[in-house]
């Protein structure tokens, strides 16, 4: 029979009801597609008192195209997004990232908001309860020590979402609703560098919408490496967006996933105004090396992941630079 601890299942009719239910108690969690939360529940990694199912809230299902922006509800499924023909035309990098998330039977349920808010991951964490118990658990949940950084004072579990880096490279903002009303912030602001508290959401808050600016002159792309190409989280992934003016690299944004507890933005402003060259690529690699913090949180060692991020970034930016010519 069911392996899950007991909890209450709440299906609110409105987002206001959802917020009230969430704000009522600190051990109440949002449930959307469940493809991240339910495996974690099964492994005893969370034990909420109640789940608030937001997957059918109509206000979180909207897609709206305006001249200068695209607004997406947080509960839209990845399958629906991938089937939206205009999305592929205007944001091919986003669709590529979406289609690289899990498998089709996950994507039929998985939501955009759930993807952004998915838990961080670690080889010492995404394990069964008996496995973790025999290892004295760990700092992220129930334990005292981090097995990755035994001398560290925080959890270094890594963020492995595929979609956030692309949205960040595209300059996305999000709306968060909660007991205090609604606030809008750059997607970057959702994340904080702490593997056991990687989201900046306050109690009672949820992500309601994602807002993407529509600028035609940008070229963007996404690359990931994984153990199994058919289906897997990224060991590391790189999203880039650039604007080229003649031989000048006018703007370049780069965001890396799978290396830190957040999707990490690499500051490359020093390259803007120059041109794209081997030297620029080397400088970018240096900046990436400084920004990422790859530790032993995945089955593949840190050295490989650090090097593959730099290689992917060089290849991707070179491609985009060519495309933009």
């Amino acid at each position: 029979m069911s392996l899950l601890n007991e909890f209450r299942f709440i299906r609110p009719e409105t987002t206001a009801q959802a917020v009230t239910a969430l704000a009522g108690s600190t051990d109440t969690r949002v449930l959307c597609g469940g493809t991240d939360l339910l495996p974690n529940l099964r492994r005893g990694l969370v034990s909420p008192g109640a789940l608030v199912d937001v997957s059918r809230l109509e206000s979180l299902q909207q897609i709206s195209w305006e001249d200068d922006r695209l607004t997406l509800g947080a509960a839209i499924t990845l399958e629906e997004l991938a089937n939206e023909p205009r999305l592929n035309r205007h944001f091919p990098a986003l669709v590529k990232a979406i289609l690289s998330v899990a498998g089709p039977s996950h994507r039929a349920a998985a939501s955009l908001g759930g993807n952004l808010c998915q838990d961080t991951r670690c080889i010492f964490y995404n394990q069964s309860d008996w496995w973790r118990r025999s290892n004295d658990y760990c700092l992220k949940y129930r334990g005292e020590l981090c097995h990755v950084m035994p001398k560290g004072d925080r959890c270094y579990a890594t963020y492995h979402g595929d979609i956030a880096p692309v949205l960040m490279a595209l300059g996305a903002q999000i709306d968060i609703i909660g007991p205090g009303g609604s606030r809008r912030l750059p997607l970057d602001g959702l994340y904080q560098e702490n593997g056991s508290h990687h989201l900046s959401l306050e109690p009672g808050e949820l992500v309601s919408t994602i807002i993407l600016p529509r600028h035609v002159q940008w070229h963007s792309g996404y690359e990931k490496v994984r153990v199994r190409d058919a289906i897997d989280f990224p060991l590391a992934g790189v999203a880039a967006a650039l604007r080229r003016e003649g031989d000048t690299l006018a703007q370049l944004r780069l965001v890396v996933t799978g290396t830190n507890s957040i999707p990490i933005r690499v500051d490359l402003s020093q390259l803007e105004g120059g041109t794209w060259s081997d030297e620029a690529a080397e400088e970018m690699a240096k900046a990436i090396r400084k920004a990422v913090n790859v530790l032993k949180t995945t089955v593949t060692g840190p050295k490989y992941r650090r090097r593959v991020v730099m290689a992917m970034a060089k290849r991707l930016v070179s491609q985009l630079w060519q495309q933009a010519a």
């Binding site: 899950l4 209450r8 339910l38 498998g103 089709p104 039977s105 996950h106 349920a109 069964s128």
Partner: protein
């Protein structure tokens, strides 16, 4: 634990059932309804053995609360055969050796069924994409892909 009443359709029959809030769809199907065709092959989300259709789309019954399919139509592998006769897809898995130990087969069938309803003539890449979340320890996948291809051809001949 308190139970709540849900109404849903399972394999074409409307039902009402009292279920616990924390019950997974896979446990509801297997333990409450006795539909043991749907398999549980991993501790959550990794293998696809539990794939069923919810409103026609493939979903993992082990990562789905039964409460969240209230009002939906659920189809399991038991719905494929009619009056004891295998469907064209099942027949193809049988003839092309797409099934060996058989544990992954219900999930493979339901994921393929979802594909063929949407795309009756899939190429190999489309089949691989549709089955990306379904693991098989026996066949090496080649025979599974051939089975789906063969079923697609047969569907076209005999509707």
């Amino acid at each position: 634990m308190k139970k709540q009443l849900i109404s849903l359709r399972v394999n074409g029959r409307d039902r009402e059932d009292a279920v616990a809030d924390n019950m997974l769809l896979v446990d509801y199907l297997r333990d409450q309804l006795g539909l043991t065709g749907t398999k549980q092959g991993c501790d959550g989300g990794e293998c696809g053995a539990c794939t069923v259709l919810v409103d026609g789309r493939p979903r993992l019954a082990c990562c789905t609360l039964v409460q969240s399919v209230d009002g939906c139509s659920v189809e399991t592998v038991e719905s494929l055969s009619h009056n004891g006769r295998l469907s064209a897809l099942q027949q193809a898995f049988h003839e092309k050796l797409g099934t060996q130990c058989g544990f992954c087969t219900p999930g493979m069938l339901m994921a393929s069924e979802a594909l063929l309803r949407q795309n009756p003539d899939p190429d190999v890449d489309a089949i691989k994409g549709a089955l990306a979340g379904n693991l098989c320890r026996c066949t090496g996948y080649v025979k599974i892909i051939e089975s789906v291809q063969s079923a697609a051809t047969n569907r076209e001949i005999a509707p």
